[in-house]
C-alpha cells in the first residue's frame, strides 16, 4: 500500500447467499495499527460467525460501522489509511463512499456464480465451480457437511492459485440427492469419479475434510490416474480414533437443544456455533432422506466397536501423488494425534486454537498451507 | 247391493307405510312421501267440500301423515276449502302395523260410512277389504305394486266419490264387486288376497315383501292382467284372466332349469325375473285347492304374512264375494253424459243448472 492511499474496509461476502452481515464487535480500536492476517472485527452471517482478517498491514483510521448492527455486503465498515492522510480527506472519502454505495440487489438475478446441479449416476449433485484455470481442485466436505463448509476457502483459493476450484455436495448431503447407495467410501469415490467425468475433468487435486479426506484417499487409491494431489484436513482414514458419541449424537439430534452441544464440539471457539448455524443444520437434517442417509453412512464409517472402519495410513506411501495434512489442535472429533504417525513424505500442519472445522476457524492458515504445500510447485 | 249410499260420510285409510319396504333397496321401486300423501288427502277433501260432504273420518297414524295433514289444513285454509270438512281421527291405539288398518276398516263398517278412500297398494286394499263388508272402496294407488287399485288422480277420485255419494247419477255401473282369494290354515279362515296368493319357500315373514323369485313356488291369482306389475304379471303374461271372468289361475313354479317353460315377468317395479313355469291351470270359484308346498310362507298380495309348516293344512279358495269398489272413470263418464257438470246460461238470468250442484266445481 502506498502512502496517502485510503482503503475501505467493507462487509465481506462469504459465500453466494450472503447478502448482509452483522458486525458483532471490533477487535481493534480506532487509530491502532494492525498486521496482515490480524482479526479486525467479528462478523456474523446467516451461516456462521467469523472474523474479518486484514489482508494487509495498515492503520484503522476511522470506524464507520457500529457493533451489533447489520450491514449489506460491500458496506463501509471502516477506513484504513496512513497517518499522513488528513482527517478531512478521510471524512470526505467516507462521504463520497456512502453517497455512491448501492447495496447489492437482493434479487436472484445476476448473482454472479451460482451453484449448479448435474446428474451423475442418476443422482443430482450440486456443485459450485469458481475460476477457470486448467488445473482443477475439488473440495470434498465431511460427514453432515456441504459445500458451504468451504465458505472461507473457496474464493481465496481461486484468487491465489488461478485454479478452477469446485466444491460439491456429496450424495446424502447439502442439496444433492439423498440417496447414498452402499454408503461406503467407494460409493462416494465412485460418485466423485463419475462427477469429474461428467464435467470432463481428467485429473484434479482433492482437498477433503474429515470423511471427505477418507473419500479422497479412497479415490486416490482407486483412481490413481485421476488425482494430482491430496489435501487432507482433519481427515478420517489416518488412524482409528473417532468421537463415536459425536456421530451418534449428531445423527440422533432433532432439536436445537439437542444438536447444539454436538455442533459446539466441532469448533475450538464454541461461540461460533450461532443460532443460524444450528438452524441451517437442522433444516438440512429435516429434509426427507437425510436421516436415513446419515445413518447408512455412519454405519459404514464406523466399525462395531465405534472405531474408524477404514485405514489408509499404511498405504499412503503407495500413493504417487503429493499429500499434505492439516489438523486443528483442539479437534474433538478426530484427534490431531493422528498426524503423529504420518510418513515423512507427507507435509503436515497442526494449528493451535482450532477445532475440527479448522478450515473455517483458521481459514487463512489452511488456505496458505494448501497453496504452499499442495497447489503450487 | 244398493248403488245409492245411505250415508254421505267418508272414511279414509291412508297407509303411511306403503311403498317403503325393502323393494326400495332392491329394485328402485317408487316411494310416495308422507307430504305427498297428505296432499292427496287434502285434494280429496277439497273435492268433497265442493260437493257439500262435510264429514270425513280418518285412520290415525304416528308417522307424520296425520300431523302433516293437520298442518296443511291449518295453514292453507285461505287457499282451499278442505278445512271446511269435519275431519275426525279415529280414537284407536296406534300400533303402526296393519292392525290399525284392520281396526279402522271394522269401525268404518260399524259406523256405516258411505265409502272408504284407500291410499295404498295391493296390500293395503287387502287389509281394508278384510272387515269393510260391502262399503265401496275408492282407490288411490300409493303402493309398490298396484295391480288392484287403478291409478287415478285424487281430485278425480274425489269427484267420482262426490257424484256417487250425492246420488247425482243412478247407475249400477258405478260400483263393482271383486273376486277374492280366501286362505284357511287348519280350517281357520286366516286371510284373503285380492289379486295374488303366493307361496314361497322362505322360512320367515322377514321384511314381508316378496322379491326373491327363486323362492316362489305357487301362485293363486284372482285375476291377472297382462299389463300388471307384481306377481300377477306372471299369470297375466301366461294366461290372462280379467277381473270379471268367473275363474282364477294357479301357477306352479320352480328353478327355470327344471321347468318345461320360462317367462320373464315384471314381478316388481324395476325388477324383471326369469320364472320357471312347471304348470298352470284355471281355478274355479268356490272350490277348495290344497297347496302343494310342505312348508314356507304365504304371501298375500305381495306381502309375506303367514309362516306354515308340514303340520299345517293350507286351503285356498277363489270366491266372488269380495269387496266392492267404485269405478271412478265410469262414474264420471256417466255423470258427464247426464250433463251434471254443465251450466246453461240464459239472458238476464244468472244461470240454470240441470242438476243443482251444491257448490261450483271451481275447486278452492
Amino acid at each position: 500500500m502506498s502512502e496517502n492511499t485510503i482503503t475501505p474496509l467493507t462487509m465481506p461476502k462469504w459465500g453466494l447467499s450472503m447478502k448482509e452481515g452483522k458486525l458483532i464487535n471490533w477487535l481493534v480500536e480506532e487509530g491502532s495499527q494492525f498486521s496482515r492476517g490480524d482479526e479486525l472485527a467479528e462478523v456474523e452471517t446467516e451461516k456462521i460467525a467469523s472474523a474479518v482478517e486484514a489482508s494487509m498491514a495498515g492503520t484503522l483510521r476511522k470506524i464507520v460501522a457500529e457493533n451489533d448492527t447489520v450491514y449489506p455486503v460491500g458496506a463501509l465498515l471502516a477506513v484504513v489509511a496512513d497517518e499522513s492522510v488528513s482527517d478531512d480527506e478521510v471524512n470526505a472519502y467516507i462521504e463520497k463512499f456512502q453517497s455512491e454505495f448501492v447495496p447489492e440487489e437482493s434479487g436472484d438475478e445476476d448473482e454472479g456464480i451460482q451453484a449448479q446441479t448435474i446428474e451423475v449416476n442418476s443422482l443430482n449433485i450440486r456443485y459450485l465451480s469458481k475460476g477457470d484455470g486448467d488445473r482443477v481442485l475439488l473440495l470434498v466436505h465431511g460427514y453432515g457437511g456441504d459445500l458451504d463448509n468451504w465458505l472461507f476457502n473457496h474464493d481465496e483459493l481461486v484468487e491465489k492459485t488461478g485454479m478452477r476450484v469446485i466444491a460439491l455436495d456429496l450424495p446424502g448431503h447439502g442439496q444433492s440427492s439423498k440417496v447414498v447407495g452402499d454408503a461406503n467410501l467407494e460409493f462416494f469415490a465412485d460418485t466423485i469419479h463419475a462427477f469429474l467425468q461428467a464435467l470432463d475433468i481428467e485429473k484434479a487435486y482433492l482437498v477433503g475434510h474429515s470423511m471427505g479426506g477418507a473419500i479422497s484417499l479412497c479415490f486416490a487409491s482407486k483412481y490413481p490416474d485421476n488425482v494430482l494431489g491430496l489435501g487432507l484436513i482433519a481427515s478420517a482414514g489416518l488412524g482409528d480414533e473417532i468421537n463415536n458419541e459425536y456421530i451418534q449424537g449428531f445423527m440422533e439430534s432433532t432439536s436445537r437443544k439437542q444438536i447444539k452441544p454436538w455442533l459446539e464440539l466441532l469448533f475450538a471457539d464454541k461461540s461460533l456455533v450461532n443460532r443460524q448455524l444450528i438452524n441451517n443444520m437442522l433444516q438440512y437434517k429435516r429434509l426427507d432422506g437425510v436421516s436415513d442417509a446419515l445413518n447408512a453412512v455412519s454405519r459404514q464409517l464406523l466399525d462395531d466397536s465405534g472405531k474408524q472402519g477404514r485405514q489408509f495410513l499404511d498405504s499412503l506411501d503407495t500413493l504417487a501423488c503429493r499429500i499434505c495434512v492439516v489438523w486443528g489442535m483442539d479437534d474433538h472429533i478426530i484427534p490431531a494425534s493422528h498426524t503423529e504417525r504420518l510418513p515423512d513424505s507427507v507435509s503436515k500442519l497442526v494449528i493451535e486454537s482450532s477445532g475440527h472445522m479448522v478450515q473455517m476457524e483458521a481459514a487463512n492458515k489452511v488456505n496458505q498451507f494448501l497453496i504452499d504445500n499442495l497447489l503450487t510447485r | 247391493m244398493n248403488p245409492i249410499p245411505e250415508s254421505t260420510s267418508v272414511g279414509i285409510i291412508a297407509n303411511p307405510y306403503s311403498s317403503r319396504d325393502i323393494r326400495r333397496l332392491v329394485s328402485s321401486a317408487s316411494s310416495i312421501q308422507t307430504v305427498e300423501r297428505a296432499n292427496i288427502v287434502e285434494r280429496i277433501l277439497v273435492t268433497l267440500a265442493t260437493f257439500g260432504i262435510d264429514k270425513a273420518i280418518m285412520m290415525p297414524d304416528k308417522s307424520g301423515l296425520a300431523a302433516q295433514l293437520i298442518r296443511n289444513l291449518e295453514s292453507r285454509s285461505h287457499l282451499n276449502r278442505a278445512a271446511s270438512v269435519d275431519l275426525e281421527f279415529l280414537d284407536i291405539p296406534i300400533t303402526s302395523t296393519v292392525t290399525d288398518t284392520l281396526i279402522a276398516g271394522r269401525i268404518f263398517r260399524e259406523r256405516n260410512v258411505g265409502a272408504v278412500i284407500v291410499l295404498g297398494g295391493d296390500g293395503t286394499h287387502r287389509a281394508v277389504a278384510r272387515y269393510i263388508g260391502d262399503i265401496p272402496m275408492v282407490s288411490i294407488s300409493t303402493g309398490t305394486n298396484n295391480a288392484f287399485p287403478r291409478f287415478h288422480e285424487a281430485t278425480l277420485a274425489g269427484l267420482a266419490l262426490g257424484i256417487y255419494l250425492k246420488g247425482l247419477v243412478n247407475t249400477e255401473s258405478m260400483v263393482r264387486r271383486n273376486k277374492v282369494i280366501r286362505v284357511t290354515v287348519n280350517n281357520n279362515i286366516e286371510d284373503l288376497a285380492l289379486v295374488d296368493l303366493a307361496i314361497t319357500s322362505d322360512r320367515w315373514v322377514g321384511a314381508r315383501a316378496v322379491w326373491k323369485m327363486e323362492n316362489l313356488k305357487e301362485l293363486y291369482l284372482a285375476f291377472c292382467e297382462p299389463a300388471a306389475i307384481g306377481m300377477s304379471s306372471i299369470g297375466g303374461l301366461l294366461d290372462p284372466v280379467s277381473r270379471k271372468e268367473m275363474s282364477g289361475l294357479k301357477v306352479l313354479m320352480a328353478d327355470p332349469v327344471e321347468c318345461p317353460m320360462t317367462l320373464n315377468a315384471p314381478v316388481a317395479p324395476g325388477l324383471f325375473h326369469e320364472i320357471g313355469i312347471l304348470d298352470s291351470s284355471r281355478i274355479e270359484i268356490g272350490v277348495d285347492y290344497e297347496i302343494e308346498s310342505a312348508h314356507g310362507v304365504l304371501a298375500l298380495d305381495g306381502e309375506r304374512e303367514i309362516e306354515f309348516s308340514a303340520k299345517d293344512e293350507v286351503i285356498v279358495r277363489l270366491e266372488d264375494d269380495g269387496p266392492v269398489t267404485l269405478d271412478v272413470e265410469a262414474t264420471i263418464e256417466s255423470a258427464a253424459r247426464s250433463g251434471v257438470f254443465v251450466n246453461h246460461r240464459t239472458a238476464g238470468r244468472s244461470g240454470e243448472h240441470k242438476f243443482r250442484m251444491p257448490e261450483s266445481l271451481c275447486f278452492g
Partner: protein, 333 residues
C-alpha cells in the same frame, strides 16, 4: 435445491409431495378442484385462491370437491382419519369453524382421550385467517386461540414460505389432528424453500432475530411486523429478540421463557382480539413463570375487542401496526 417461492406455492408443493409420497393422503374441500359436475374444465379453481391448483391433474380423485357443508366433509375427513387415511380438509376461511366445530373439538380432538388411547386421528384442517383484505367480520378473524384452548388439537401458524411447507408436511405426517392456519396476506410472500420434502417440528419456536433488550413474541403475520420494527430499533441500539412460536399448541414455552429471562422485557403481538388470546396466554406465561426476571410490565399489542371492520380506515386501525408495536417496545425498553 432451495429456491424462492411464495407461501402459497410452498403449501401447494407440500400437498403435492405428500400426496405423491403417501397414498393415504387425500385432499378435500369446497372447490379445491373446482368444476366438479360442471360443463367446463375440472381444476377450474384449485381452491378460491388457487392454492390447490394442479393437484387434480397429478392426483386425480384423491383431491375432491365437496358440497358447501362443512360439518359433513370436515366430519368425513375426521372419520377417514380414524380409518388410517391422512385427509387434508380445507375449511376455506377459519371463520366458518362455527358450522362444523363439533366435528373438530368434540370428535377429532377427543377421540384419543375418550377411547383410552385407542384412536389416532391424523387429520389436517387447513384454513386461511386474518385481516387485511377488507373481507370484514366473517372472513377476517384470527381464531387460533379458540383451537389452542382445546386439548387434543395442534395449532400451526406458519409465517414464512419455508415454515409453511415444512410445518404442513409435519402436520400431514403427524398422528394428531392439526389445525393449520394460513394468513391470507402472507400467500404472496416469497422466501427460500428447499425443493425436497422436509419437516419443521411442532413446538419449536423460531427465533427470527436475536437480541438482549426486549423479547417480542409474535404470531403469524405479526412476525413480519415485529421483525421489521426490531430491525428499525436495532439501528437505535434497542436489540429485540423476535420469537415466532410457529405452533400455539404445542407451545415452545421454554424458548420464550429463556428469552424473557435474558431480556426481562416482553411484548406480545397478536392479531386476534385481546380477551382469552394468545397475547394474554403468553403474558400469563411470563408472569407465572418468569416474574422474577421481568424488569418492566408485559405489553401486549392486539386487535381491539371488536369484530373485524370492513372500511379500510377502520381495518387499518384494527390490525396491530408496526407503529403500535414500536410504541409498545419503546414504552418498556
Amino acid at each position: 435445491m432451495a429456491r424462492k417461492i411464495t407461501y402459497q406455492q410452498a403449501i401447494n408443493e407440500a400437498l403435492d409431495q405428500e400426496m405423491t409420497r403417501d397414498e393415504s393422503v387425500i385432499v378435500m374441500g369446497e372447490d379445491v378442484v373446482g368444476g366438479s359436475g360442471g360443463h367446463g374444465e375440472m381444476d377450474a379453481w384449485g381452491g378460491v385462491l388457487g392454492l390447490t391448483k394442479g393437484l387434480y391433474a397429478k392426483h386425480g380423485n384423491r383431491i375432491m370437491d365437496t358440497p358447501i357443508t362443512e360439518s359433513g366433509y370436515i366430519g368425513a375427513a375426521v372419520g377417514a382419519a380414524t380409518c388410517g387415511m391422512r385427509p387434508v380438509a380445507e375449511l376455506m376461511f377459519i371463520d366458518f369453524m362455527g358450522v362444523c366445530l363439533d366435528q373438530i373439538y368434540n370428535q377429532a380432538a377427543k377421540f384419543r382421550y375418550m377411547f383410552g388411547g385407542k384412536a389416532k386421528t391424523p387429520v389436517v384442517i387447513r384454513a386461511m385467517y386474518g385481516a387485511g383484505f377488507s373481507a370484514a367480520a366473517q372472513h377476517s378473524q384470527a381464531l387460533y386461540s379458540i383451537f389452542t384452548h382445546i386439548p387434543g388439537l395442534k395449532v400451526v401458524l406458519p409465517s414464512s414460505p419455508y415454515d409453511a411447507k415444512g410445518l404442513l408436511i409435519q402436520a400431514i405426517r403427524d398422528d394428531d389432528p392439526v389445525i393449520f392456519l394460513e394468513h391470507k396476506v402472507l400467500y404472496t410472500l416469497e422466501g427460500e424453500v428447499p425443493e425436497e420434502p422436509y419437516t419443521v417440528p411442532f413446538g419449536e419456536a423460531n427465533v427470527v432475530r436475536e437480541g438482549d433488550d426486549v423479547t417480542i413474541v409474535a404470531f403469524g403475520r405479526m412476525v413480519l411486523h415485529a421483525t421489521g420494527v426490531a430491525d428499525k430499533l436495532a439501528k437505535e441500539g434497542i436489540k429485540c429478540e423476535v420469537i415466532d412460536p410457529r405452533t400455539t399448541s404445542p407451545l415452545d414455552d421454554e424458548s420464550i421463557l429463556e428469552s424473557i429471562e435474558n431480556t426481562g422485557r416482553l411484548v406480545v403481538v397478536d392479531e386476534s382480539n385481546p380477551r382469552c388470546s394468545m397475547a394474554s396466554d403468553i403474558a400469563e406465561l411470563a408472569v407465572t413463570r418468569a416474574f422474577e426476571h421481568l424488569k418492566a410490565p408485559v405489553k401486549t399489542v392486539t386487535a381491539p375487542h371488536t369484530p373485524v371492520p370492513f372500511a379500510k380506515s377502520l381495518e387499518d386501525a384494527y390490525i396491530p401496526s408496526p407503529e403500535k408495536i414500536e410504541a409498545a417496545i419503546r414504552s418498556i425498553a
